[in-house]
Symmetry: none
Subunit: 132 residues, 2 copies
DNA sequence: TGCAGTGTATTAAGACTATAAGACACCGAT
DNA sequence: ATCGGTGTCTTATAGTCTTAATACACTGCA
């Protein structure tokens, strides 16, 4: 069993709890801490650990399932799902990430970081996955 | 008057508008883009520009005044009360944008977008800010 | 003195977030 | 079949966020 818990809530951030959970699941999947086909902690388990309501966790899980990142296994729980790579045209996928990129550009401007500095910081976050 | 507007709202971020405004005012003050004793844009001016309610801007201003960052001048508006802090080292500024970049990388991974595709989508967003 | 501009108070309404307690269908194992 | 586990549905309640329309005291200026 994993010794350290995977999730944490930042109460002062202003971001809804279910959104924070979604972001962290996504990050863990990307980082490989939640491998493919791995079962996620149960809603009651996370709710107990974070002292929040199970329905809040359920809301995060449901939206992640809608996004195709995880899947529901009846009577079992939620499982990390293989990315259905390429179902959507590139243009649509780009549109989905655009709001995030706008935040990046705004924050970079705020901090006085150039485009190249941002790219330099962003590049190592992309994992090597052999040929694309 | 400055040609470029100082504030921007990200509707998809989940962060309340008044919190976004507070963060941006604070960043501008710290960076010196809003110097000491400078008058801030009026609540109605910002509300018009961002297509939001004046009371939402007022809420941000009131909380910033409570924090001592700005002060109210009756009949005039809000004035910057805090001195600009020195620009942080690049390393610290990079740290501040890192969580956002991790989110970008994770989302890109989920969508099956490569590093180059992300950069291609990000670059034009920097050009809108003028030369760096 | 008017007048336009400043932030703010008020009231009302709607959407969203989170909690609580209970119930359900489903699954695996005893 | 029973039991404990899974996610989810339902109902209700409370709080926050945002908008809208109106009004007020205050200030600088013509």
């Amino acid at each position: 069993m994993p010794s350290n818990f995977l999730f944490r809530i930042h109460p002062t951030s202003g971001v809804p709890i279910y959104r924070q959970l979604m972001d962290q699941v996504q990050a863990h999947v990307h980082a490989g801490r939640l491998p493919l086909d791995e079962m996620l902690p149960s809603v009651r388990q996370i709710a107990e650990e974070l002292q929040i309501n199970p329905m809040t966790v359920s809301k995060a899980y449901s939206l992640l399932e809608r996004d195709g990142l995880i899947e529901r296994v009846r009577g079992q729980g939620m499982r990390v799902k293989a990315a259905p790579k390429g179902l959507l045209p590139v243009k649509d996928r780009r549109e989905k990430i655009l709001p995030l990129l706008e935040q990046v550009a705004a924050k970079a401007f705020q901090l006085g970081l150039t485009r190249d500095q941002v790219i330099a910081a962003l590049t190592p976050l992309f994992k090597e996955r052999g040929a694309d």
